[in-house]
Symmetry: C2
Subunit: 285 residues, 2 copies
């Protein structure tokens, strides 16, 4: 069995490590436009061989884990090149553009659109973690568009690496993920910006920062190469979520300026149930 990992960063690299356990006999090929990443992935044992698109006619499984704008460029080419029995799993943070793009492709039934909700704020092969996906959710879009035999293969893999499956329509995925993921990133980036702008004597001031600030600003370490195309592809939903977030912040500010501390208390008290909501999911973070 031959597996091609296209994009040997955090997600592709972590999947490569897990797939080596699931298919002990498989050869894992790495394809990446960043040759330094490819060398790094090879030396870390994430892939067995460096490869190119010319190797795709020989592979059984392709993982696409690259920025969502690049995915729109290369997924049709990958589908053109793979053999008829191969499965292509794409893993980006937006699902509508890629699903629309491949809708009429002759090999649409070899393709599966997924979004594994897993990751860290780091990137590149050195960020890859074996076991990253255990206990995490994988969202599969338009599952019925993938041929049944390849659905089974994909589900076998996701089960082996410990993922829970949720099925969603691409549009619904993109709308809701704007709130629970994309908005968090903007909130965090702009918090980091506000504090950096304010503070000239950084060392002094960041000495005052505790684990709360660190937690809230963690996503501001994320890769702009990955996130710019996500915001582009999901622009409308992201802008809407950002509008609602700004309106809530403005309302909070108005309560503060009006010194309505009972209302401020009630605001926070109401949101406190995020505790039960997150616990209720039975998730381990």
């Amino acid at each position: 069995m031959k597996i091609a990992i296209i994009g040997t960063g955090l997600i592709g690299g972590s999947l490569a490590l897990d797939l080596q356990s699931v298919f002990a006999q498989a050869t894992v090929l790495g394809i990446d436009q960043n040759d330094a990443h490819l060398d790094e992935a090879l030396s870390l044992g994430i892939i067995h061989q460096k490869a190119t698109f010319e190797d795709l006619p020989e592979v059984d499984l392709v993982i696409v884990a690259i920025p969502v704008d690049a995915a729109l460029q290369v997924v049709p080419k990958i589908l053109d090149l793979i053999p008829d029995h191969a499965l292509v799993i794409e893993t980006g943070s937006t699902k509508k553009p890629i699903c629309e793009l491949v809708e009429k492709h002759p090999k649409r039934r070899n393709f599966m659109a997924t979004h594994p909700i897993a990751g860290t704020e780091f990137s590149g092969p050195s960020a890859a973690i074996k076991g990253l996906f255990a206990g995490k959710t994988n969202i599969i879009c338009e599952v019925e568009m993938t041929t049944f035999r390849l659905q089974e293969k994909a589900l076998f893999i996701f089960k082996e690496i410990g993922m829970r499956i949720r099925y969603m329509e691409p549009k619904s995925h993109d709308k809701h993920i704007a709130y629970v993921s994309h908005l968090s990133h903007i909130s965090s980036f702009m918090l980091g910006k506000t504090v950096i702008e304010k503070e000239k004597h950084e060392r002094d001031i960041f000495d005052m920062a505790g684990s709360g600030f660190e937690s809230t600003v963690r996503l501001a370490k994320s890769s702009p190469e990955m996130w710019t195309p996500i915001f582009k592809q999901n622009r409308k939903h992201v802008a809407k979520s950002l509008d609602e977030y700004i309106a809530n912040l403005q309302q909070f500010k108005a309560l503060l300026e009006g010194e309505d501390y009972d209302a401020i208390f009630e605001e926070m008290h109401g949101v406190n149930r995020i505790k039960e909501i997150l616990n209720g999911m039975g998730k381990k973070f």
Copy 2:
């Protein structure tokens, strides 16, 4: 030696546990207006005895770890009651109001205003953690107002429990802490609110939330009892930081609506150095 812990929650409880190690022979008294917390603190071994203000004339050290509005009520009474040799350490998140309040108190030199930058989003005695303060920063305000012998005593304690010391003026503390702590809490509460408001079918949607959302929204679990008086006392600095944060979010939204993706990339790239800033502090979170 007798130590009184006033407020047996996360901070007071954690300090009580550490102080039992520093002063193995000490008796730790607990004072709390919540009698259930006091019973819990006793059963968890956080305190040795339940006590009241009537016991204060017998104590050598008082830790005040209660909401900042309550501190303004009780610190003068505590200073009235303690013996001449005793040290009172207050630990709230705002420093100017308490320092102004005790400025002319006859026992001002028995008082030390501190802000240990440590904690979690949880509260109450069950949230107390032994070793919470190791490697963390403690901000001491107006150190010169505390008598030298009691400064030495306080510094001995902070050294024993592993804290780094930073000296600041109360006004400067309150201004900067608005950015690195208070603003993070509002950002997180309002993110939680925005997502909860949007999502009617919560279980479905929060299944899509990953560790990034969890991290960014973590502070929204914080106690409104503790945070309402902090926002009240630091209203002006908090409102200013909130203004700047909202302006940055609006500017990001304008870039998104104008589809200026180069500028969006540069925004994120610029904030990415939060990575080096946080690492540069040599902090362990």
